[in-house]
Symmetry: C2
Subunit: 339 residues, 2 copies
Amino acid sequence: MIPGKYLLFLGDVDQRLDAKTACGLADWAPDRCVGQWRLPTCGVDLGLPDMDFRTAIEAGARTMVIGITPFGGAIAPAWVGPIAAALRAGLNVASGMHVRLEAIPEIAAAAQASGAELFNVRVPGANYGVGTGRKRSGRRMLMVGTDCAVGKKYSALAIARDMNSAGMAATFRATGQTGILIAGAGVPIDAIVSDFVAGAAEALSPDNDADHWDVIEGQGSLFHPAYAAVALGLLHGSQPDAIILCHAAGRSHVDGYPDFPLPGIAECIETNLRLAARTNPDVRCAGISINTAALPPEERESHLASLSAEFSLPCFDPLTTGAHALVADLERRMLATDA
Amino acid sequence: MIPGKYLLFLGDVDQRLDAKTACGLADWAPDRCVGQWRLPTCGVDLGLPDMDFRTAIEAGARTMVIGITPFGGAIAPAWVGPIAAALRAGLNVASGMHVRLEAIPEIAAAAQASGAELFNVRVPGANYGVGTGRKRSGRRMLMVGTDCAVGKKYSALAIARDMNSAGMAATFRATGQTGILIAGAGVPIDAIVSDFVAGAAEALSPDNDADHWDVIEGQGSLFHPAYAAVALGLLHGSQPDAIILCHAAGRSHVDGYPDFPLPGIAECIETNLRLAARTNPDVRCAGISINTAALPPEERESHLASLSAEFSLPCFDPLTTGAHALVADLERRMLATDA
């Protein structure tokens, strides 16, 4: 477990999309974030109090989280000085980069000097076995997507929150660095050696009470030219009883791959169900989650309503509507099954 | 590149199935194997001259290959002494285990003392990028399977050999430890971090002449509860123009997973084609490869003939018939296209 509270380090980042980890923590764990530390050229504002590491320690911070998620996952030279200064002052540092913090000599030396801890949340902490395919007790819901970065993490967080609000037993299960920092635990599934991806996904959602839901953050997409392997290993190992199809309204192509049009929602649901049935023949699609940020506000409600009618499924936007419609539908179905 | 010739170390192994690497080298690279070294309790015989490391060095061996492939990929305590002795005498040692040879202190010390080299062919030698999905020049044929251990490696080796015999330009591309030792190069695809599997598969079969075939060893199966992620990443990154469906006659369930019946051949072909089309819309199934070892010899020919008629595809057993039927069918199709 990573000691809270957190100071969110934004460095010199320019756009919110490149600060996904910081945005996720500010949105989903605001009570654990004491402030943001921005270098002079930083163009992003999370709306948290601005402070450096000294003020953060006085405000109760125990760990500085590198909130930036650059393409490639490397630590920029401009961040090394501030990170080392925070460490020397005794703040732990947590990173979601592929590269380990201790691989940078100045950072390793600063941590050793003060005894502060380095947390590499994207470096798997355990050795996982190969998947067994054994059916586990309890219920599981997995987010699947038409693409990366369509709202799978926000969907899972909203569903777990709204299940808990409705009195259902539910746990958010993180599979990426931001989710792991929000939940305090999880498996960085895209950093697992491919032979062990399904096994790691099995370990992430172990046996549980019969009426407990694990709500599992998805990764990648079966239709992604680079990341489909991760998506399929997670799908098989999660053995979901229910999948939630996640999509960003207005997205027509795989982000960063202009030659790859996105699949339709119906095709994406069907392909996921077909492959998921290999480890759970009873899998069904329980709902559709749409990130409507790209739509004009006055069109969002009707877009969700029309998809809901087309697929006869609850359809929601985790940020604007929450997942109440999905949770209510689940409760109706469970009552119908009990009756 | 690993220096030949090879001495094949069989240790105390009991069954041919646990000596897959040694069997593969003896079958497909016999001119590079000077002999086999068996400890007193060893129950496997490859038909090679028996010798220890001293005799092997005199016979021209440069590298001792650990020919054993135990479940879990660990090095047994009984092998450490003989491996260290071979190293001290100056033989290099090559291993296909997940664990690195130098992780065992006695082995590391012996290599350092003599200057002999340690080769860990299952540990990726390069850092691969994420997949790009970019179409590459040249032709690619990928083995896909109903299961693991159905003959994908032997099929690819037989096809590349028979293409070459027919005057076609073709290269076997290895994706597992035994194939890498046979070919002298390749990518241990199941040891790649899952985010980079498709990218590593792209690197394995780079741009080539328009009429050149890369014949790519498959791994896992889309229907395997543990290894489907590897299979899908390899399928997407290979961008095959043609797939060959590989199956072991008589196999009804996933090897080691009695709760998982194998898919039918038609279903397996259809699912592979459907997912492969994401990165190569022109993919087709070019043939069926059957390991007929479990059938009575008098039934093998009719079994292949009946499958060939059912699917209108060339159908062969890499060990008993070779891949001539497939290669002849490819040539007919190419002539028809040119006409």
